[in-house]
C-alpha cells in the first residue's frame, strides 16, 4: 500500500535563532515497518519527529507522508495519517476526563457521536485501561497516563504511529507491557528513544542520528552491535547485548566481550 510511505529527502531544519536542528536527513519508510530513531541527547530526534506531523516545516528538502507532500495545505490530511504520542503525557491530556480526552481526536475528525463512543472504548480496551474512562487525567499514575495518551492517538486510527520516548518514566513491568502492546500493533511505527533494549524488541530497523544527520540506517540487531558506530554516535550497547557484569558472559556472543570482572 503506497499510502503508508514516509519519505524524507535531504531534510534540513534551522531554528529561528540559527541553531541547526537537522541537516540533510534522508530515509524511506514503507508500510508496516517499525523504525527506531536513536541518538544522543540533542541529536535532533525530537526535531525530526516534529516534522512528521507537520508541526515544523523543513527549511530545505522534502518530506512525503502517505500520498501527500508535507505542505501547509496538506496538514490536516497528514495529521489524520500520523498519530503522534508525545514524550510527556501531561502535554497530551488536557480534557476533563479520560473519555473526553480520547474522544477529542475522533470528534475533531467529524465522526458521528455513536461511533465516537465505540472508537474510544476500543482504543481504551486495546491499551487495557477501559476502567479509567471517567477519571480526570491529571490524577492518573505515570503508567496510566501513558496508556491513555497512546489510546487518545489510537482512537483516531492513524496509519502511522510516531512516538517520542514511549517507555520513559515507566516501571519495568509497565514498560514490558507497553512493549508487548507496541509489538501487537500493525501500524507503521516510528519510535524515537534512548531505550535501545526496547528498540531491539520492537523495531526491526534503526536509524541512528548524530548531530542532526543520519549516521546509519539498517537492521536494528546489526547496528546496535556495531561498537564503533555506537561510540561515534554517542550511544552505548543495549543492556541485553552487553555481557553479564558478574559472570562475564553475554547472551548473543556476536561481538567480542566488553565487560569482564577484574579481581
Amino acid at each position: 500500500m503506497s499510502h503508508h510511505i514516509v519519505e524524507a529527502r535531504d531534510l534540513h531544519y534551522i531554528y529561528a535563532d540559527g541553531t541547526p536542528g537537522i541537516r540533510g536527513v534522508s530515509f524511506r519508510i514503507t508500510h508496516g515497518e517499525s523504525i527506531a530513531i536513536v541518538g544522543e541527547n540533542g541529536a535532533g530526534k525530537s526535531t525530526l519527529l516534529l516534522h512528521l506531523n507537520g508541526y515544523l516545516l523543513p527549511t530545505q528538502g522534502t518530506l512525503r507522508i502517505g500520498d501527500y507532500p508535507l505542505t501547509k495545505k496538506n496538514l490536516r490530511a497528514v495529521r489524520r495519517t500520523v498519530g503522534m504520542v508525545f514524550q510527556d503525557p501531561d502535554d497530551q491530556l488536557f480534557m476533563p476526563t479520560v473519555f473526553d480526552d480520547v474522544a477529542f481526536g475522533p470528534l475533531n475528525l467529524g465522526l458521528p457521536v455513536e461511533e465516537v463512543e465505540t472508537v474510544v472504548m476500543q482504543a481504551l480496551n486495546t491499551m487495557g485501561v477501559p476502567h479509567l474512562k471517567d477519571r480526570p487525567p491529571y490524577k492518573l499514575s505515570g503508567g496510566e497516563k501513558r496508556s491513555v495518551a497512546i489510546a487518545s492517538v489510537l482512537s483516531m486510527s492513524p496509519n502511522i504511529l510516531v512516538m517520542d520516548e514511549p517507555t520513559s518514566g515507566l516501571d519495568p513491568r509497565a514498560r514490558r507491557r507497553l512493549i508487548e502492546q507496541l509489538k501487537s500493533f500493525d501500524h507503521t511505527k516510528i519510535i524515537a528513544s534512548h531505550d535501545l533494549d526496547m528498540a531491539v524488541d520492537v523495531c526491526e530497523r534503526t536509524i541512528v542520528i548524530h548531530q542532526g544527520g543520519v549516521t546509519a540506517d539498517g537492521p536494528t540487531l546489526a547496528l546496535l552491535q556495531d561498537q564503533v558506530l555506537l561510540e561515534k554516535s554517542g550511544l552505548e550497547k543495549p543492556l541485553q547485548m552487553q555481557n553479564c557484569p558478574l559472570c562475564g558472559q553475554g547472551k548473543p556472543q556476536l561481538d567480542k566481550p566488553g565487560l569482564t570482572i577484574e579481581d
Binding site: Y55, D88, P96, F99, F104
Partner: protein, 270 residues
C-alpha cells in the same frame, strides 16, 4: 506549597462535579447558560439600596446546586476565595454614604451599609450562579454553548484556553515553588531576590508548555471548534427550564415578594 497543589486539585474538582449524571447535568448547556445570564442581568438591574427584593433570588442557585448534587461547602469556599474583590468594591460605601436610610429597633443604619450589603448579596448571587453553572455543565460545554449562541469564536477559544492554561500555570508554579522550598533554608533563598527570576521563569516555562499542549491539540485535529460527546438537544425540557425560570425572575423583579408577603401578614394581624 502543599496548599498550592491542593487549590489546583480543587479547581479540577469542578470538572469532576460536572461529569455527574443528574437531570440538571443532562440539560442542554445552552438552556442553563441563557437562564443564568437572564438571572445575572436581572439581579444586577436592582437599585443600589435593594436588599429584600434580592433575597428570593437565592432559590435559583440553591435549586441548581441541590439538583446538581454540588457540595455547598465547596462552593462557599470558592466564593470566599474571590470575595475580597466584592468587599473592595463596597468597603468605602459606609464611609461615604452616611445618611440614615433605615431605622431598625431604634438604631439608624446608613445608606452606605445598606448598599454594601446589597453589593455582597449580589456578588454571592451572581458569582455563585456562575460557579454552579460551571459545576453542573462543565467549562468546555459552557464554552460550546457560548459558541453556538453566536459569541465570536475568537473569544470562546480564548476563554477555553484561559481555563486550560490555568492548570498548566498552577502546575508549573507548584513545581517551581516545590523545587525552591526544598533548597530554601532559614535566612536565604525565599526573599524578593529569588522571586524575580522565579516569576520570569514561570512565564517562559508556561509559554513553552502551553505550546506543547497546543501542538498536541493540533495533532488531534483541533481547528478552533469545540466538540463534545454529549448530544445537544433543545427540547421541551430545555424550553420549560429557560422560560419557567426566566418568567419567575422577571416576576420577582416586578413584585417584591418578601415585601408583599410581609404586608399580607400585617393585614392578617390587623
Amino acid at each position: 506549597m502543599a496548599k498550592l497543589d491542593k487549590h489546583f486539585f480543587d479547581i479540577g474538582y469542578m470538572d469532576t462535579l460536572s461529569a455527574q449524571q443528574t437531570p440538571i447535568h443532562q440539560l442542554d448547556p445552552r438552556a442553563k447558560l441563557i437562564t443564568s445570564l437572564v438571572f445575572i442581568t436581572i439581579v444586577i438591574s436592582f437599585g443600589k439600596y435593594e436588599i429584600s427584593g434580592l433575597i428570593p433570588y437565592f432559590v435559583y442557585p440553591v435549586f441548581l446546586g441541590a439538583m446538581g448534587n454540588i457540595p455547598p461547602v465547596y462552593l462557599l469556599k470558592k466564593l470566599l476565595l474571590v470575595s475580597p474583590f466584592a468587599v473592595m468594591i463596597g468597603i468605602f460605601n459606609p464611609l461615604l454614604d452616611r445618611d440614615i436610610l433605615v431605622n431598625l429597633w431604634g438604631s439608624g443604619i446608613s445608606g452606605g451599609w445598606v448598599s454594601f450589603v446589597s453589593i455582597l448579596i449580589r456578588f454571592v448571587l451572581t458569582v455563585g450562579v456562575a460557579l454552579t453553572l460551571i459545576a453542573v455543565t462543565g467549562f468546555n460545554a459552557v464554552c460550546m454553548a457560548l459558541d453556538r449562541l453566536g459569541t465570536p469564536r475568537v473569544f470562546v477559544v480564548q476563554l477555553l484556553f484561559l481555563y486550560r492554561y490555568l492548570f498548566v500555570l498552577v502546575d508549573e508554579a507548584a513545581r517551581m515553588v516545590r523545587a525552591r522550598s526544598l533548597r530554601t533554608f532559614e535566612g536565604g533563598g525565599s526573599g524578593i531576590k529569588a522571586y524575580g527570576p522565579l516569576v520570569g521563569h514561570l512565564l517562559l516555562r508556561t509559554i513553552d508548555r502551553a505550546q506543547r499542549i497546543y501542538r498536541a491539540m493540533c495533532c488531534r485535529g483541533f481547528d478552533g471548534e469545540i466538540r463534545i460527546v454529549k448530544p445537544l438537544r433543545f427540547g421541551p425540557m430545555e424550553i420549560g427550564f429557560t422560560v419557567g425560570w426566566s418568567a419567575l425572575f422577571i416576576l420577582m423583579r416586578v413584585y417584591n415578594v418578601p415585601a408583599s408577603m410581609g404586608s399580607i401578614i400585617m393585614e392578617f394581624f390587623k
